[in-house]
C-alpha cells in the first residue's frame, strides 16, 4: 500500500511523465489498443435521498418521471440501431417508484436488444442482486461517492443512502452472488482527491483479491454542475485526475478504468493512453433523454456531447479500436 501512496503523492511534472510512460505500456499490454463503449439510459429520476451534490435530490423542484415499458423499448431500439451493445441503466433512488419488479421488466426488454446490461441504481440486498443477475443483469456500477465518513454524513443528510456501511458493502454483496462486472468509484470533488483515490483503488484491490473471477473496474467521476448548490467542494485539477488514472493502472494493471462524458472531449482524448479502457458516448442524464427532448429532468450537465459516430471516429483517428460488443448472454 506504500507503493500506492507514493504513486498518489504530489509529483513533479517529470515524475508524472515517467508515470505516464509506464501506465501507457501497461495499458497496451493488458488491454491493447481497444476501448469498450457504452451508453447510459436513465429510467427514472424519482428519489428518496437528499444527496446535496445531485440534481435528483428529493428536495429539488424538478419534473419527476419514470419511463413506461413502451418508452424503454423505444430507447432500446434507438440505441441498438446506433450500434450500442453495452447499456447502463440508471434510476434515482426510489424503491417505491422504481421497484425491483419494474427494473426486471426493463431488463427483460433490454436483453432483447443488448449484449450486456449493467445497473446503476439504489443499493440492494444480496437476494435482490441475485434476482437481477438471474434476470440478465451482468454488471453493477456503484459509487461510494466519498470514502470519508464525515463528509459522507454531511452530503447525505437523510434518506436510505445515509447508511455508509450498507453502501460500502454493496459491491461485495453483488460479487458474492456472481455479478460478472463491478465498477466502483468516488465522486471526486467532495473531499481530498488523494484520499479518495487511495480508498477507491484499495477498495478495488480488495474486491479483485476476494473475487478474482469477476472483472473489477473503477470510474473517476468529477463533480459537474447540477441543479443545486454545493459548498465546500474541492478542486480536482486535470493533472490530479490523470495522476489517479495512472496510479490505478500501475498499481492494478488489469483493472479497467471508465471515463465518462462528465469530462471534456479534449481531456478524454488526452488521457486515453494513460489507462482508460472504457468510455461512454451519446450520453444524456435525462430520463428517456435519447428519444425524448427534455433537459429539465437531467441529473447533471455532461461535458462531452459527441455521439457514437463521432466518438468512434475520434478513437480510430487516435489509433484505437472502438469495441461495441465485449460480452454476450451465455
Amino acid at each position: 500500500m506504500m507503493d500506492l501512496a507514493a504513486l498518489l503523492a504530489p509529483l513533479t511534472n517529470s515524475h508524472l511523465e515517467e508515470m505516464a510512460s509506464v501506465a501507457q505500456q501497461l495499458t497496451l499490454r493488458h488491454f491493447g489498443r481497444a476501448i469498450q463503449l457504452y451508453t447510459p439510459m436513465y429510467l427514472s429520476n424519482f428519489c428518496d435521498n437528499h444527496c446535496i451534490y445531485c440534481g435528483f435530490n428529493k428536495g429539488n423542484d424538478i419534473e419527476r418521471k419514470r419511463l413506461t415499458l413502451e418508452q424503454v423499448r423505444k430507447e432500446a431500439v434507438f440505441l441498438s440501431e446506433k450500434g450500442f451493445q453495452h447499456i447502463l441503466i440508471l434510476t434515482g433512488s426510489s424503491r417505491s417508484e422504481s421497484p425491483i419488479s419494474y427494473i426486471i421488466q426493463c431488463v427483460k426488454i433490454l436483453k432483447e436488444y443488448f449484449a450486456s446490461v449493467s445497473i446503476e441504481i439504489y443499493v440492494l440486498t444480496s437476494q435482490e442482486y441475485k434476482t437481477l443477475i438471474d434476470a440478465g443483469v451482468d454488471g453493477l456500477t456503484i459509487y461510494q461517492e466519498t470514502y470519508d465518513r464525515e463528509v459522507y454524513r454531511r452530503v447525505h443528510p437523510k434518506g436510505p443512502k445515509s447508511d455508509y456501511q450498507f453502501r460500502l458493502e454493496a459491491p461485495e454483496r453483488a460479487l458474492s452472488c456472481g455479478m460478472r462486472f463491478v465498477n466502483i468509484g468516488a465522486l471526486l470533488g467532495l473531499s481530498d482527491w488523494r484520499k479518495e483515490a487511495f480508498a477507491t483503488i484499495t477498495h478495488a484491490k480488495c474486491l479483485q483479491d476476494k473475487y478474482p473471477e469477476s472483472e473489477i473496474s473503477i470510474s473517476v467521476p468529477r463533480l459537474r454542475p447540477y441543479k443545486g448548490k454545493l459548498e465546500n467542494t474541492v478542486k480536482v485539477h486535470d493533472s490530479d485526475l490523470a495522476q489517479m488514472i495512472m496510479a490505478c493502472r500501475i498499481f492494478l494493471p488489469r483493472v479497467g478504468v471508465t471515463l465518462s462524458t462528465r469530462e471534456s472531449a479534449k481531456f478524454r482524448e488526452n488521457v486515453l493512453p494513460l489507462g482508460v479502457t472504457r468510455m461512454s458516448a451519446n450520453s444524456t442524464t435525462a430520463v428517456g433523454g435519447h428519444t425524448i427532448k427534455d433537459d429539465a429532468s437531467s441529473q447533471f450537465e455532461i461535458s462531452d456531447q459527441r455521439n457514437l459516430t463521432e466518438i468512434k471516429q475520434m478513437l480510430t483517428a487516435k489509433g484505437y479500436q472502438p469495441v461495441l460488443k465485449d460480452w454476450m448472454p451465455i
Partner: protein
C-alpha cells in the same frame, strides 16, 4: 518432404497462430494475417457481433484461415461449454480454443475446469485446443479427455516476458505425444524461435504483434522466427542443457567389432 503439423485433420504449414484482440483497427488484422501467411487464427466470441451492420472481425479473416473461436470470459467449464456451442451455432466451425480464467488478477488458466470442458466438447465433436498452465499431469489428462493439442502458457497473458515456464514446457514436449503449442507471454520473435527450437509444434501470439508500432512487420518477423526455430529443431540444435545427444556415427560401435 514437407514438414506439416496436423491438427483436427487439417494440414498446417505455418506454425505461427495469431490472436485478434488488442489491434488498433479490425482491418489491420487482415494485413497481419496476409503478411504472416497464417493458417490458424483465434477470435474471442465475446467480441464477435454477427448481426451488427458495423464491421465484423470475421470479415477480415482470409478464407483459407482456420478460425478458432476462443472462450475468453469463461470462468468455469460450464461457461466455456456454452460459449463453444454458441460459437458453433454462429457458424464459426467446430474448432475451439478453451480459455477458462477464474482469476482476473493474473489471468492464469484453470486446468481442472479446462479438463472438464475439454472432455464434454471433444465428446461433441469439437476440435479442442486447450489453453493451460504448464503441468505434465494436467497435459496428460487433457489429451485423455480428447484435446487435439495442449497449449501451455509461456508467461502470463500480455506480459511479454517470454518462455518463463521453459523447464515445465520442455517436460511436456518430451512426455506428451500430442502437439505442444506455447500460447501467451511471448514478447519478441526470439522468444518464439526459442519455443520452436525446444520442439514446440507451434506458438500462438497476439499482444506482441497487436501493440507493436508496425504490427504487420512484427507478424512477419514472428513468422520468420517460428520457421527458423522449427528448422533449427529439425536440424537438431547443438545448444542445450542435456549432454545426451545422438552422434552422427556411433561412438561405441567399435565394441561390437
Amino acid at each position: 518432404m514437407q514438414d506439416l503439423l496436423i491438427i483436427g485433420g487439417r494440414e498446417i504449414k505455418n506454425r505461427l497462430f495469431i490472436g485478434t484482440g488488442k489491434f488498433s483497427r479490425k482491418s489491420l488484422i487482415k494485413d497481419v494475417l496476409d503478411k504472416a501467411k497464417t493458417d490458424i487464427v483465434t477470435v474471442a466470441l465475446r467480441r464477435v457481433d454477427i448481426d451488427s451492420s458495423d464491421e465484423n472481425v470475421l470479415d477480415f479473416i482470409p478464407e483459407n484461415c482456420q478460425i478458432m473461436p476462443n472462450t475468453s470470459g469463461a470462468r468455469n467449464a460450464d461457461e466455456a461449454i456454452r460459449i463453444a456451442r454458441l460459437a458453433k451455432a454462429s457458424g464459426c466451425g467446430n474448432w475451439v480454443k478453451i480459455e477458462i480464467i477464474s482469476d482476473n488478477k493474473y489471468l492464469l488458466p484453470d486446468n481442472q475446469e479446462t479438463i472438464k470442458a475439454t472432455k464434454v466438447l471433444a465428446g461433441e465433436g469439437f476440435v479442442v485446443l486447450p489453453y493451460m498452465t504448464p503441468d505434465l499431469y494436467a497435459g496428460c489428462r487433457l489429451v485423455e479427455a480428447g484435446a487435439a493439442c495442449v497449449m501451455p502458457l509461456g508467461s502470463p497473458i500480455g506480459s511479454g516476458r517470454g518462455i518463463k515456464t521453459k523447464e515445465l514446457v520442455q517436460i511436456m514436449i518430451d512426455e506428451i505425444k500430442a502437439p505442444i503449442i506455447v500460447d501467451a507471454g511471448l514478447g519478441m520473435p526470439s522468444d518464439a524461435a526459442e519455443c520452436m527450437e525446444m520442439g514446440c509444434a507451434a506458438v500462438l501470439v497476439n499482444t506482441a504483434i497487436a501493440i507493436a508500432k508496425n504490427p504487420v512487420s512484427m507478424a512477419d518477423a514472428f513468422s520468420q522466427a517460428v520457421a527458423a526455430g522449427r528448422k533449427a529443431y529439425l536440424a537438431s540444435t547443438a545448444k542445450g542443457d542435456t549432454l545426451i545427444g545422438k552422434a552422427s556415427s556411433p561412438l561405441t560401435g567399435f565394441l561390437n567389432e
